[in-house]
Symmetry: C2
């Protein structure tokens, strides 16, 4: 499969779209076609894409000539019409607004413009493929490929098919991200569910975090310190089940649940059942106070470098 | 404070106790007195402690002569009576059984044996200081110092006072773990609550993880992959509030909650409300299948080295 050239059409080049473009361009068997409705699209792309393409060891992250050279070599094509963008696609991937009407109508248009064999991927974090595919003639070709920000660095891709999506289309997406040497880790989710898996886990933890701040058990900043000083590095090294399997001593997670099941049930039964509306004010106030309300490009760049370092440590085999 | 010599008595030298001994011995201003009721205590200590003391770059992790040299230099004293172990303590720290009757009676005995100024720290993960201090004459001296496994590597210490604990005792514990150059990060929790903060956050995520496995949305192994490929490395770099502050774009976590509050509330309202008993069978079966039921010393050692590497990346300032 890695010898086949894939032609990927990206619709919607906001932050996630730019990062997705960088992900696809980092492979040697791709041609990327990009389309966005913003009037200054080409200028914006030329200005913005380079910082996503730069090597992790670059000092500045800025290579202004790189887009021009990708265009002249034919690796990157900038389109001002959806029709030309989709005409030769192997894969069409959208990162448009999170709005069901938009998704349904864009896929209907794409279906009329792209080759009949093309795969349709949506980067949505919230709108299931089964809802998006309603106006398609061929409902078997659409599935969710949900990345985590920023996708050109973060390994996870949640592949979430609708019941009508064909298994071959699911396998194609999984294989696309599984080529040897890729740092990406596609995982197929077996049922459509709000938030898929990654965000459900994040939101479950966040709800309790908001509850503890709301109840003055801990400040937002101290809670972040707790997470970074314990669970973050633990779960960067091993998942939650593997951690309890190994932390439980003899007998693994079964023994752990036998020993601590009472405490765990007490905590589960007492978890905060808060609403977004009731926790928002205090959480926003404490978070703004702790971190300020803006982040510089330089800081963002250094954070991304650190994320790459974590992932390098993570993939050290033993 | 770092020039004062602290004399720490450790009661209970299981895995956590051994790791705690290594933590205290890694500092240059400590004398450590150890006491445990197991009949082969001294042999066990000589055999077990070295692997906790070894340098992270050691090939084997085994330095059998090290305990003897610590003993002969006076840094480590092995006791066969609680009375001699406590006689000169600045701090008495217990890692005994998680049993309220045991905790109450050991503290009563310790109070009769230790200097009146000594600080009493319990490493409990589940029994509040206010419950443990019931039989003490001076209830102001006891507080929880809850480590995360393994404490000689993992930075977090949750300091959880009872309402009757004196603020000076809390500040002493916080300062003890805050000396310049220490990798440890003490955090004071403002209210006693089951599971404190770290385990509440872990258990909140674990409950949803168990629910998703129980409902066949994802396998235990795939869920672990999802966590390692997204939230683990993210939260190793920044806490949950800081991550949303910066991932929310302009306007930070406030804008994020405005934009995604509907989806988040839908996920919050739909989180699994499962019991330990109903999820246990499938979770244990899938976890055993994915990881086996035992872990070799060598693998454990390599995992610890990787954890140290994550923490090294984490403390790179920017």
């Amino acid at each position: 499969m890695s010898t086949t050239t894939h032609r990927i059409t990206l619709i919607g080049l906001g932050t996630i779209g730019m990062s997705m473009a960088a992900l696809h361009l980092s492979r040697d068997n791709t041609i990327v076609d990009v389309f966005d409705t913003r009037p200054d699209f080409e200028d914006y792309l030329v200005k913005t894409l380079p910082s996503f393409l730069a090597s992790p060891n670059s000092e500045t992250g800025s290579h202004p000539g790189e887009v021009a050279s990708l265009v002249s070599s034919g690796r990157l094509n900038i389109h001002s019409s959806l029709a030309t963008a989709c005409a030769s696609a192997t894969i069409v991937q959208e990162q448009g607004p999170e709005n069901l009407d938009f998704k349904r109508s864009i896929w209907k248009r794409v279906e009329s413009l792209a080759p009949a064999s093309a795969h349709f991927w949506t980067s949505t974090s919230g709108i299931a493929a089964s809802a998006q595919q309603q106006q398609l003639q061929d409902k078997t070709r659409l599935l969710v490929v949900h990345p985590f920000n920023p996708p050109h660095i973060m390994p996870l891709l949640e592949i979430v098919p609708a019941p009508e999506t064909s298994p071959e289309r699911v396998e194609f997406a999984r294989e696309y991200f599984s080529i040897p040497g890729s740092r990406h880790r596609p995982v197929v989710i077996r049922k459509e569910i709000p938030g898929f898996v990654g965000n459900r886990l994040a939101f479950a933890l966040l709800r309790e975090a908001c509850h503890l701040v709301q109840e003055d058990v801990v400040t937002a900043k101290d809670l972040d310190t707790i997470l970074m000083a314990s669970l973050g590095p633990r779960w960067a090294g091993n998942g939650v089940f593997e951690s309890y399997q190994q932390g439980g001593g003899e007998g693994g997670i079964g023994a752990f649940l036998d020993k601590l099941g009472g405490t765990m049930q007490e905590v589960w039964d007492g978890l905060g059942q808060v609403s977004v509306a009731e926790v928002k004010e205090k959480v926003v106030q404490q978070t703004d106070e702790a971190y300020g309300t803006s982040i510089s490009e330089e800081t963002r760049w250094k954070k991304e470098e650190r994320l790459r370092e974590f992932l390098k440590v993570q993939t050290q085999r033993y």
